[in-house]
Amino acid sequence: MMNRREFLGATAGTLAASALSPAMAASDRVNLGVIGPGSRGQGVMRTFLRVPGVRFTALCDVYEPRFAEARKITGEQTPVYKDFRQMLDRKDIDAIMVATPLSFHEEHVIAALESGRHVYGEKDMAKTVAACDRVYQSVKKTGKLYQLGTQYHYAPWFMQALERIRAGKLGDITHIYAYWHRNNDWRRPVPDPHDQALERLINWRMYRQYSGGLLAELGTHQILFATEVFGSIPESAIGTGGIDYWKDGRETCDNVQVTYRFPGGKTMFFSSITTNRFVGMQIQVFGTGGSIILTEGGGTAYYELASQNSAVPQKLVVERGITTTASFRAEMPYRGPGEPLKIPDDQQGSPDFLACQSFIDCIRNNRRPGADELLGWNSGVTVALGNQAVDTGQKIVFAEHAKLPV
């Protein structure tokens, strides 16, 4: 079994907070280091390299085959490390991208921040409420920038949906139903299936020691969106889930359903299953004036049919009476084709690219990221306590477990 020491590498070093980087010009090169260039990490690396002036100057992983894969992406012999502390000793790194398993986020993000680097931290912020608190406090203490790697926060159609919601165009938002449904075992291939240590390293999402399961790895996107719509973390959560189909030695649920209650009785329901992908990734936002459906590729708004009161002259109804007919149109449920959220040309782009571009822009211009430590903490504790609700089968009251650190 892979333990923490093995994952971190053998050599321990002393962390020293270096001087903060001076402000940069818009054209300045930004050098990035990456801790954990695995599957997701490599995808984000590719995207960062589409932003002008970005270069990866160091790579760190405990699994050696990642070095060749990541170097293929950078297109050069980028220096590699098995110990992240040694990588952080380099002087030519402006920011660190952390894409390690969830249980290591806290240690890697805090070490990077305390070394004076800005951090692009893959979601979720950290695995537990206490760990989220410590990451949040470290960002505040060091004054460095922290951006949660949650690309849909930057998706133009998500942003437009939030604008419409905040402008009241959907009335009062009362419910959000969100799904991330897949139809596969959620596994990644292991070169030697009999090597249990390698299995745990590559398929870390299956093991509770490292992973928050489907709720953390998939649900964070939708949960973050719900905290933005409702403007706070939930008040309580109830949940269920289990290992009910893929009985292959995994420890994290192959399906979860969590219901969050927000202040004012607002409700979010999240479901993730691995046996059917009919609804795929979706967020359904329901308001008294309309609905918005968001997917990975776009969004559509539907407005409720207007229901107006008007005074009726008595003689029209009482004296003349009314006529019966075979159908009553107002009962027809047809909602119309909806109004696709149109994105202007100058705002187009993939969510991943816009997230990476925004992070680099924040570094160059000393600007705070949109998906900052507060949004990271909000979604992090909501996921952690949602998982606690699933694990215990109990209703979890947030006020008893989570309070934003000062």
């Binding site: 590719r46 075992d185 590729g297 040309d345 993939s350």
Partner: protein, 360 residues
């Protein structure tokens, strides 16, 4: 049944019989033997089908996830139908200023421009505006009006794509340029999937991108390679040739995939970038090479160039063979081959015989 449909069935039917429709979650296949399995996935406007030998349903599912995950990644990167793709971002912005892109996309574009250079522009990714003018972008084709065609012809030309390797940027020197991945994207996806499956430990498999690009990885146990039939357009029951693919790719371009007729003339979706018109008097080309990206691009290039100039182009690609089916009429066409590894069925092999032989 048209030729394309026939071609599709030709590949799929035997494997439908050969594989279980639904695989359970057991640890190994019966008798602990490696078994041929297949799965299909829609992407890039076509259907990708992967066939491979696996030891268990679990390992098969993992291989398919690897394959289709990569195809989806490349679709999200290279599609000109998705506004969020990297190629769409380049198309939107490179006419205004240089666009930085990642090493993979940059290398992909370098390869594409390399084919253009070597083929004197017969292969050209900038045909996007021509495809729109001729109605082949999201459509089945139409004759463009004169002004529209003039505008489209003024907005093509691979020479107008400037790749700066030092800065890793793409720039268009004229406005309106639109890169179209149609002649190369599926081939690149097949090539990448073959690489990943090989790295994951698959020793025998076949990757089929809508039957237009096919890669044979290794060979089925006890055989010399993966059997692929090249159809004879217009002759539903005849194949032009049968080849065995082993660590080789095969791509076919045909005028019968997407076309429209007007006043007795057939206009197909393969453009001659040098004239701005659909290629005439060529029914089908097929290329076999070690690389699926090469075979995809070259089958288009030699479709435009024809056999004489096409052979000169192919000369610079080792281990490459090609077939041309030239003519306007499928019933009066001429077959030309070049280093072709299979036999040519001059009178046409009866497909029914092939089926009977296969099923026995």
């Amino acid at each position: 049944m048209n030729c394309a449909r026939y071609f599709y069935l030709l590949f799929h039917l035997p494997l439908i019989f050969a594989t279980s429709p639904l695989l359970g979650q057991g640890q190994a296949f019966p008798n602990h033997n490696s078994q041929l399995v297949s799965a299909s996935h829609q992407a890039m406007g076509t259907i990708f089908t992967v066939y491979l030998y696996a030891d268990s349903p679990k390992s098969a599912a993992t291989y398919f996830d690897v394959a289709f995950g990569e195809i989806d990644r490349l679709d999200a990167t290279l599609s000109n139908y998705r506004s969020t793709s990297e190629l769409s971002r380049i198309n939107r912005l490179a006419g205004r200023s240089p666009v930085t892109t990642d090493p993979e996309v940059f290398t992909f574009l370098q390869r594409a421009m390399g084919y253009s250079l070597q083929s004197d522009g017969a292969f050209d990714m900038t045909v996007g505006s021509l495809m729109r003018a001729w109605g082949f972008f999201r459509g089945e084709g139409r004759y463009p009006d004169t002004q529209e065609l003039k505008r489209a012809r003024g907005a093509i030309g691979w020479q107008h794509v400037v790749l700066d390797a030092k800065e890793r940027t793409v720039r268009f020197t004229i406005s309106g340029i639109e890169l179209d991945p149609g002649g190369i994207g599926k081939g690149y996806a097949v090539e990448r999937v073959a690489e990943l499956l090989r790295e994951a430990g698959v020793r025998s498999g076949m990757i089929n991108a809508g039957s237009s690009t096919i890669y044979g990885l290794g060979a089925p146990p006890g055989t010399k390679g993966w059997t692929v039939h090249v159809p004879r357009p217009g002759h539903d029951r005849e194949s032009l040739s049968t080849v065995m693919l082993r660590d080789q790719a095969l791509s076919t371009s045909g005028s019968y995939e997407k076309f429209f007729r007007l006043n007795g003339t057939t206009y197909c979706h393969i453009m001659d970038p040098r004239t701005g018109l659909p290629v005439q008097a060529m029914l089908q080309t097929t290329v076999i090479t070690p690389s699926a990206t090469d075979s995809d691009a070259l089958s288009t290039a030699i479709f435009v160039l024809g056999p004489d100039r096409g052979k000169k182009l192919l000369d610079s690609y080792p281990k490459t063979g090609a077939l041309w089916l030239q003519g306007k009429d499928p019933y009066a066409s001429k077959t030309i081959s070049w280093h072709w590894p299979g036999d040519l069925n001059s009178s046409g092999k009866r497909v029914r015989e092939f089926w009977q032989a296969t099923m026995r």
